[in-house]
């Protein structure tokens, strides 16, 4: 079913997209770039599925009494969380942008294990299908955190299907991380030392470490949950001496590092974008690189901050609180270094840079509010409120989703060979920024005033802020739909892009757009440091 593109003299050069046609050439590909595209389509679909649930429950929150039944509301926010966390945020940048770029950035022809890469996508699809099965049968109402004993004993929803869907998706994540780790260690081109790697590679390498070390514990805790639910063995059943807190320990051992799986790749994207659109090397390269590693390591010893109110002794709380403050330091180092990169740089405001600015500001707010939650005394008041919801949406949506959009726009010409319309993209970025802040800033206030999360109703005095938040969400939704339209439009009608439309440094900008199947005609030899931005006049697109 695959045919080699017939070549006319004026035909476009052979690249990874046109080298073969037909569904078999896509579904059985081992080319990391094609797999990245397959992932891009899949996670975009899941993003809108998760967003759909958000639309519904934000509508519910227009009225203090709620609109849907409480049981329905519980399913809506649970499915939103499960789909967004496990099927969008965790795989987003690693499986799409990093999959596409890491081999090129290190100077290799593919990842270390191309077939494992394809397998990871198939596993992701199976996990998504299992979870969608749970959705169509009526959903899960346990929250994305699946806390026992509700999930193990009392819930009447499709816990098993959803848990198995997530369990499966976890293996996809493990395989991706494993592939990146081995690729970065063993497939670097001659001269590509660790200190010459783009910071995007450092970030995704650190992400891979977290994926490999943390996700297996999620797998086992979901398996234990499944046994409990199927056979009532009692491991999390307090009636017979089982401990629901054990579930939380095992769950958060993964799920806290998971939030760093979600944000680290975004930070890598920001490093690349800020350097390119300041035409300046990233300030403090070593610090930024090591901060990624520090985050990866420290992320594993802070999970108790999700459990301050479970009866932990105050000494345990103090220890986890202190460590949580420590893990904020490397993130702050990155923010300082990005800012210092821009200082006295030649800053331009192309769309990727707009998203980067959004990221830096919003991630900082999200990160600082995380410190409110890491502080024992204030967490007592804000745990389980909308303050938490606003905090993590600031880092995940204001941070990660913006980084994802920025990265997609930055590398779009490389991936597709086309440019998108700049006016529309800037407009969409603005809509996203406005919509985002309108949605989530009121939630900080609501949480601080005491509105609990995961409730379908609320006291009437909170209605104005909730309506504002829902209005913001509808604007945000528009902001997400616009890029879908013009990006797809650009595939056919966008102007063709050359190898380096941004004048950026990096191996990916030295090859054609889109790249050939094996990326390089000859393995490159690297002789320069990363971000070798000379005087502005020398770097031409």
């Amino acid at each position: 079913m695959s045919t080699v593109a017939s070549r006319r003299p004026d035909a476009e050069p052979v690249n990874y997209l046109n080298v073969e046609h037909g569904w078999k050439s896509w579904l059985f590909t081992t080319d990391h770039k094609r797999i990245a595209v397959l992932y891009l389509i899949s996670i975009t679909l899941m993003f809108f599925v998760g967003g759909f649930f958000a639309v519904l429950f934000r509508i519910n929150l227009l009225e203090p009494e709620g609109i849907f039944a409480p049981e329905t509301y519980n399913r809506l926010f649970s499915m939103h969380g499960i789909v967004m966390v496990f099927f969008f945020l965790v795989p987003s940048i690693p499986a799409t942008l990093a999959n596409f770029l890491i081999p090129i950035m290190v100077g290799a022809k593919d990842l270390a294990f191309p077939r494992v890469n394809l397998l990871s996508w198939y596993i992701y699809v199976v996990g998504a299908i299992l979870t969608m099965y749970a959705v169509f049968r009526g959903g899960v109402d346990t929250g994305w955190t699946f806390y026992a004993p509700y999930s193990s004993t009392y819930s009447n929803s499709y816990v098993l299907a959803a848990a198995f869907g997530v369990f499966t998706a976890g293996f996809s994540s493990i395989l991706t991380g494993l592939n990146f780790i081995v690729t970065v260690h063993k497939m670097r081109a001659p001269g590509m030392t660790w200190s010459r790697l783009p910071l995007f590679v450092w970030s995704n390498y650190a992400t891979g470490l977290i994926q490999v070390l943390g996700t297996p514990v999620l797998a086992i805790v979901l398996l234990l949950l499944a046994f409990e639910r199927i056979a009532h063995v009692g491991i999390f059943d307090p009636n017979i001496g089982g401990d629901p807190i054990l579930f939380q320990h095992l769950f958060w051992f993964y799920s806290h590092p998971a939030v760093y799986i979600m944000i680290l790749p975004g930070m890598g994207v920001i490093s690349e974008i800020v350097a390119c659109f300041s035409k300046k090397r990233v300030f403090g390269y070593n610090f930024v690189a090591f901060s990624s590693m520090a985050i990866a390591v420290l992320s594993f010893v802070v999970w108790g901050h999700h459990m301050f109110l479970t009866g932990e002794s105050v000494y345990t709380g103090i220890a986890f609180s202190f460590l949580s403050f420590m893990v904020a330091v490397p993130s702050a180092i990155k923010v300082f270094n990005w800012t210092a990169t821009m200082y006295k740089g030649s800053v331009s405001f192309d769309t990727p840079m707009l998203y980067a600015f959004g990221f830096i500001g919003l991630f900082t707010i999200g990160g600082l509010t995380g410190l409110h939650l890491a502080t024992l005394a204030t967490d007592i008041a804000t745990h389980g409120t909308y303050f938490v919801v606003a905090h993590f949406h600031y880092v995940m949506v204001g941070g990660m989703v913006m980084a994802f959009l920025g990265g997609v726009h930055f590398w779009w010409p490389k991936i597709t060979g086309r440019m998108y319309p700049e006016a529309w993209s800037k407009f969409a970025a603005l809509i996203v920024f406005i919509g985002f802040n309108l949605t989530f800033f009121p939630q900080f206030i609501l949480g601080y005033l005491g509105m609990p999360r995961r409730y379908h109703n609320y006291p009437p005095e909170f209605q104005a802020l909730n309506v504002l938040s829902t209005a913001g969400a509808s604007i945000l939704g528009v902001g997400y739909v616009i890029p879908i339209i013009y990006l797809i439009w650009s595939l056919k009608y966008g102007p063709k892009a050359g190898p380096n439309p941004w004048g950026a440094t990096g191996l990916e900008w030295e090859i054609q757009s889109p790249p050939t199947t094996f990326n390089f005609d000859e393995t490159p030899t690297v002789t320069e440091e990363a971000y070798n931005y000379g005087p502005v006049e020398e770097v031409v697109g």
Binding site: V116, V212, V217
Partner: protein, 229 residues
């Protein structure tokens, strides 16, 4: 036989070394495979680790219930199984060595022996599980209420579940291992492995040794601690 490094004569062909196109050299391919397998084994360490953590918690908060379970653990069968797996690790290591030296017949025989030892392990495990079933000690499926120590029935239920979970997960990994060894046997018979290409044997060997190591910890923790003469 003296220790030898694989002799460097003329370089073997890309076909002989099964060199895949994205690798620059067979050494790079082997290095990548080794690091990849170790990374995978680390994920397995954390996977089993979750169960070990659960076991550590429950064992320590319910020490008397834990002590009461030890009489049902058959030390003879457990100890025999430990010895069986140790033998299988030896034959596995010898089969890797045979592949490295292009010794086809020893490779095949050592693989077969490894599979025999692995099967003996599973058969003994099967007898143990059968005994537990008959005695009504399978939580959720066939739990008899723990008649000899009803005061510990609930806590013992949790502990026996962990016993089945840990040994069952281990047995599942053994079964997968037997499948992988079957693949190696078939490939070995077809003369696929030799001094220039033996990575699958070595990688599956690493997996097999790892499964042995899990049992090395399961045996004392489940069978030996808590029992007295």
């Amino acid at each position: 036989m003296a220790e030898t490094i694989v002799p460097v004569g003329e370089e073997p062909s890309a076909e002989a070394t099964h060199l895949r196109h994205h690798f620059a050299s067979p050494e790079q391919q082997m290095d990548a495979a080794t690091l990849g397998m170790w990374t995978f084994l680390i994920t397995e360490v954390l996977f089993f680790g979750g169960m070990f953590a659960s076991y550590a918690v429950y064992r320590n908060i319910y020490p008397e219930a834990f002590a009461s379970t030890s009489q049902y653990m058959n030390v003879i069968l457990g100890g025999t199984n430990t010895a069986v797996l140790i033998c299988s690790s030896l034959t596995m290591a010898l089969s890797v060595r045979a592949a490295q030296l292009s010794q086809r017949k020893p490779l095949i025989w050592f693989l077969i022996l490894t599979m025999i030892f692995g099967s003996i392990f599973l058969v003994i495990k099967g007898f143990e599980y059968h005994d537990k079933w008959v005695e009504g000690l399978v939580p959720g499926l066939h739990w008899g209420g723990y008649p000899e120590h009803p005061e510990f029935a609930h806590h013992a239920q949790i502990l026996f579940f962990l016993y089945f979970c840990m040994t069952g997960m281990h047995a599942l990994h053994m079964v997968v291992g037997l499948g992988l060894l079957t693949y190696l046997l078939v490939q070995g018979v077809r003369r696929v492995f030799h001094a220039s290409y033996f990575a699958p044997v070595e990688m599956i060997g690493l997996y097999w040794h790892f499964v042995d190591i899990v049992w090395i910890f399961l045996f004392p923790l489940l069978y030996l601690i808590g029992h007295r003469r």
